[in-house]
């Protein structure tokens, strides 16, 4: 089955052989953030949502954010997304 993200990973030049199988984040128009490969929610509020991914924590800052979907490994965040930061 065609998977857009896998296609991107396969076609990109990766001279240093980084591990690209950790997680995927797609920001659509700053209003919807789609995350694959999370390992657990850390913080949940309307202004800040943070979650764990492989060897890192992702922080999403914004306004009036809600988790429109939360499953075992995917997250969909809806709202005004201002910043996505990996720490």
């Amino acid at each position: 089955m065609f998977n857009f993200l896998n296609e991107v990973k396969e076609n990109v030049k990766n001279p240093k052989n980084f591990d690209l199988n950790g997680f995927n984040i797609i920001n659509i128009s700053g209003k919807l953030l789609y995350v694959e490969g999370h390992t657990g929610l850390v913080t949940l509020s309307k202004e800040l949502i943070s979650f764990r991914v492989k060897k890192a924590v992702i922080m999403v800052e914004g306004k009036d954010m809600i988790l429109s979907e939360l499953s075992d490994n995917t997250i969909k965040i809806c709202g005004e997304i201002k910043k996505v930061e990996q720490i």
Binding site: G40, L41, V42, T43, L44, S45, K46, I66, L67, S68, E69, L70, S71, D72
Partner: protein, 377 residues
Amino acid sequence: MKWKNQTKFKISGLNQEKLLNELSKSFTLSDIDRQSKNNTTFSCGFFEHKKVEKILKNKGVKVESVTHEGVFFLLKKALTSYGLIAALVVFSALFFLQNNFVVQYEVTGLDKLSKTEVVDFVKSNFPSKKSALDTEAVEIGLIENFERVSFASCIIKGQTLVINIKEKLLPDEMYGGFAPLVASEDGKITQINLISGTLRVKVGDIVKKGEVLVDPYTIDTSGQMKKVDAKAEILADVYFEGMANHYQHFIEVVRTGNVVVQNDITLFGLSIYNFKEENNFKMYEVETEDVDLIKNLFLPFKMRKTYIYELKENVIESNFEDVKEEIVAKAKEKALEKCGECDNIKDEFYTIRHLSGVTIVNFCIVIEQQLAVYQNS
């Protein structure tokens, strides 16, 4: 209206991120909205809400509210909450339907005719649907088909067809079976009041039960016999007798007090052990008793105890004069048993007969009662 089948939970408590992580491992959660530090709303599939509720309960999370939405939930709600309304609608429809029919028949004014005869005729010849039932036709039908009916009127009242009938008046003789009057008991006639018929007895006659008292005919002045109902009021003294015997010598059998006990232990009716003392009594009577050997035992061991009592005969001599009152009372009691609930006892007396070794007491109760019984053949 939302068609998607889902259930919305509103929960309150601390560390809700951990709880959501645990739930998301088993279910897909949606619309998670952290309204305040301690309050969150989220949705899950309608078919999973019971499992989610169970987990929340086990975790000790306070659930503020649970809201269901979707097609399936509405359907389920309709089937349960609206079931009663549906039943009422169906009931009303059925009630309206059956309200168009006559279900009961009430017949008044009957004397000789029977109600079932009339109702069967109406049921078999006229429709039960109210709109199709012509009451005038029923009235005419009744008058034409029943000779006795002189007038009939019908009305429909609710679901009842009320039929009022007036029967033709015929001479009494025409209704009679022309059966004779017979005596209901043995007795001596004391008073006669003849209404119709020919008397066969007179005051002072002693009659037996079943004997003819009045014949169902009269002979007119021209010597012709004319059939009539036999009717009369005939009073008679009726005698009820009770008897008691007294024996000058009689044998009384009593227990001596000596007893022999025999035990027999059984399982499913089969004897598995017994202990029997020797019975040397010449005269004896036996009593048996079955008891459970041990209560609540799986195997039904039973013990049959047999008691053998020694008896002896005593010859008793009794003087009649000593027990006379007792014997007379016994004879009176037997006489009263025969006369049932008679409260108008006219006279009572007793006779004593002494035979060889036995005295017989006959007690007689005299009651005045109606003797004539009209028999319709």
